[in-house]
Amino acid sequence: MRRAAAALGAAAALGAAALPACVRPADERALEDLEVGIASAAGLSIAVDGGAAQVRVIEEGRIDLWAQAPVLGATVRAEPAAAGALRLSVANCMPGSELDARDAAGDALPVAPLPGSRPTSCRFELDLPPGEEIELAIAPPDAGDIARFRFAAMGDIQTGLPEVGDLFRRINAEPELRFVVSTGDLVEDGQVEEYELLLERLALLDIPYYSTIGNHELHGETGMWIELLGRRNVHFRFKGVAFSLVDSGNASLDPIVYDWLDGWLDRAAGDVHVFGTHFPPIDPVGARAGSFRSRKEAAKLLSRLAAGAVDLTLYGHIHSYYSYENAGIPAYISGGGGALPEKLDGIGRHFLTIDVDPQAGIGAVGVVRVD
């Protein structure tokens, strides 16, 4: 009996010891977010406010960014040897964005817009003075107008990536859409080739695509996301509306992300706030439980969102369409990006169009069927 008890005890202890990552599987990912948008090389340095863009290239006279927000702020500095002309390219940019550059005294620097290869490619040239911190602001002209606008929401492309061009063309056909927010699972296995294909397909879109990750971005080359697209936890404001897209790739939020979320909720108090994450905290089909790994954490998150007066929650992971309420907040699951679909639900590939008015709140939510 003692042997049996000892063996079971040892097995349990080994099991517990072998699972150190299980309690906080996403803490390293959250910390990596803090490094996004900060880079220096060849006498140039840049820090993007809030990590809202990833620095893809920084070299002599050139900085390339991938935007994860419609409005970007950044500080750039050139050492004396690197002063002079800088070509700044912003991919996944709001069409028509303008660059405002100001020196330490607050005076505007001359900026020359350059033609982009597509609507979401914004390019500028400016002269950087030596050794001075220059404040950059990149935004469409109406970014500060508190006025109604429309955006799209979608998720779960995965194996549908080769054909997602159809869906993106359908999005392009909606003239009022300003950008797409996505709840993740853009790739299936996380392989390099998939990310390359993803970038090719995103280039078909006429508006930017802002996304957090899903569980499938935790397969394969898990560093590709941050390298190419930037933060996994994204927060921005546009025209008086706050958007928070958070990483629930492990069916959970890391405590670091909860701290960020608390701050975002506080800052957006009184404003319209759209929240998105990959896993629905609670699956409306409970027996399936395609949801958070812990029901109590799900309730805790929803309780916080309710306390923060969030106006809309968007989820993916389930490859169908659901409309319901959680904690009194309207909720939509839109996983119709092309992944293996839920059958017998009467809907295939689709995306949502959402009207939002910064003063009146969330307006009409439409479902656009692609197939």
Binding site: F292, R293, E342
Partner: protein, 408 residues
């Protein structure tokens, strides 16, 4: 122990369940006892069948094979080989250890169990894929997947246990019903998402014939968090019921009501649940696996999450309950120390532990919790319980148990 194993070996092949009750458990029992199915359905179980002088045969009567030494006579070298074989290739071919140990009949049963488990897993998985995890078919699909994994795991653990000579440990189940057990304990939770970490726990267990009632409470010592639960069960098969099995096997309809108040987080959850829960004494599988058992429970739960924020209201939800376990009996009833220990998987994600997340790779959002539990009575009155669970949180609990009243 050997005498008990031999007695079990001469029993009529068992089947745990009558028509329709517990399809999964019935499937397992029937596979273990093909003769029972051939005999026209359901055999009398355990002691009842033995009392009627049932002819020998079935589960363990054909153990070994001509010339094969019984498990207890396996030499140390062969034993070591058997244990090795139970791990490699046993992880893939369950029963490999028993085959090397000279127990081909038991090996075949273990392999059959593995194949049934894989079949259930494959069927459930195929259903999930074919329907895209349809809202209409999720419950049976997920139930099959989890139960299939359970059967797969149990048959492997049973192979290792039997190959290692686990039956020689001499563990036996306590078949007596004990009117009252009282329990006081301490629970530590490693939980980064919530402020609590320490709980005082209290529980009582009342057994009366086929009925069992278990109120329990866990009160946080360092946060505003309280969990109250009332379990109740009606035993249809097994000790204390009108249909005793003569061993640790049992089948119960179990219900529970839970209220969990998260005062610091401004919500509470109330859950009602109903499940069919069974235990199979693995002495029925082979004399080599005597002293061990397997459990499976399947059910449904409904829950109400009540948010305290104005306008948030309450969310209604449901859950599929699936749990499987494998364990061993520790000592003999009446001995100096007696009890049982088990390891288990529970698919539910509404407990303090929640569901496990594997980090990178697949599995997040689907997997429940893993646990290990042991209770050991040191004499007729006092006992100690220990539990470990790993889900989204890691829990450890110890409790002192006091038994009141004599066994029945």
């Amino acid at each position: 122990m050997r005498a008990r194993a031999a007695a079990l070996a001469t029993r009529r092949p068992p089947a745990l369940v009558r028509r329709g009750a517990g399809a999964l458990l019935a499937a397992v029992a029937c596979l273990l006892a093909p003769g029972a199915a051939r005999a026209g359905g359901v055999a009398r179980v355990g002691a009842a069948a033995a009392d009627e002088g049932a002819p020998p045969g079935g589960a363990a009567a054909d153990e070994g094979g001509p010339g094969a030494p019984p498990a207890s006579e396996v030499g140390p070298r062969r034993r070591a080989l058997a244990v090795t074989a139970s791990i490699v290739p046993g992880v893939l071919v369950h029963g490999a250890g028993h085959f090397v140990a000279g127990e081909p009949a038991a090996a075949r049963r273990l392999l059959t169990l593995e194949l049934v488990g894989l079949g259930m897993l494959g069927t459930g998985g195929a259903l999930l894929i074919a329907t895209g995890a349809s809202r209409h078919y999720s419950a049976p699909s997920v139930g099959l997947v989890v139960s299939g994994i359970g059967l797969f795991g149990v048959s492997w653990l049973a192979d290792i246990f039997g190959s290692a000579g686990g039956a020689g440990l001499g563990g036996e189940p306590d078949l007596a019903r004990h009117p009252i057990d009282l329990e006081l304990g301490y629970l530590y939770a490693s939980e980064p998402q919530f402020d609590y970490s320490q709980f005082a726990t209290a529980a009582a267990r009342f057994e009366l014939g086929a009925y069992r009632i278990e109120p329990s409470a866990a009160i946080a010592l360092d946060a505003d968090n309280q969990r109250l639960r009332l379990d109740a069960a009606r035993r249809f098969l097994g000790a204390g019921s009108a249909r005793p099995t003569g061993d640790g096997s049992r089948l119960e309809l179990a219900g529970a009501l839970t209220h969990h108040r998260y005062g610091d987080d401004d919500f509470s959850v109330t859950t009602g649940e109903l499940a069919l829960a069974g235990r199979l004494d693995l002495a029925r599988l082979s004399r080599t696996t005597a002293g061990s058992f397997a459990e499976l429970a399947v059910g449904l739960a409904g829950e109400v999450t009540d948010y305290k924020q104005a306008g948030a209201g309450a969310d209604l939800g449901e859950m599929l309950l699936t749990r499987f376990a494998w364990g061993v009996y520790l000592g003999r009833p009446g001995g100096a120390a007696h009890g049982e220990a088990s390891i288990y998987y529970d698919h539910r994600r509404d407990t303090l532990a929640g569901g496990i997340s594997p980090g990178e790779g697949p599995g997040s959002g689907f997997v429940g919790l893993f646990g290990a539990s042991a209770i050991l009575y040191l004499g007729p009155r006092w006992g100690v319980r220990a539990e470990l669970e790993q889900g989204a949180a890691r829990l450890a609990r110890v409790a002192l148990v006091r038994r009141l009243g004599g066994p029945r």
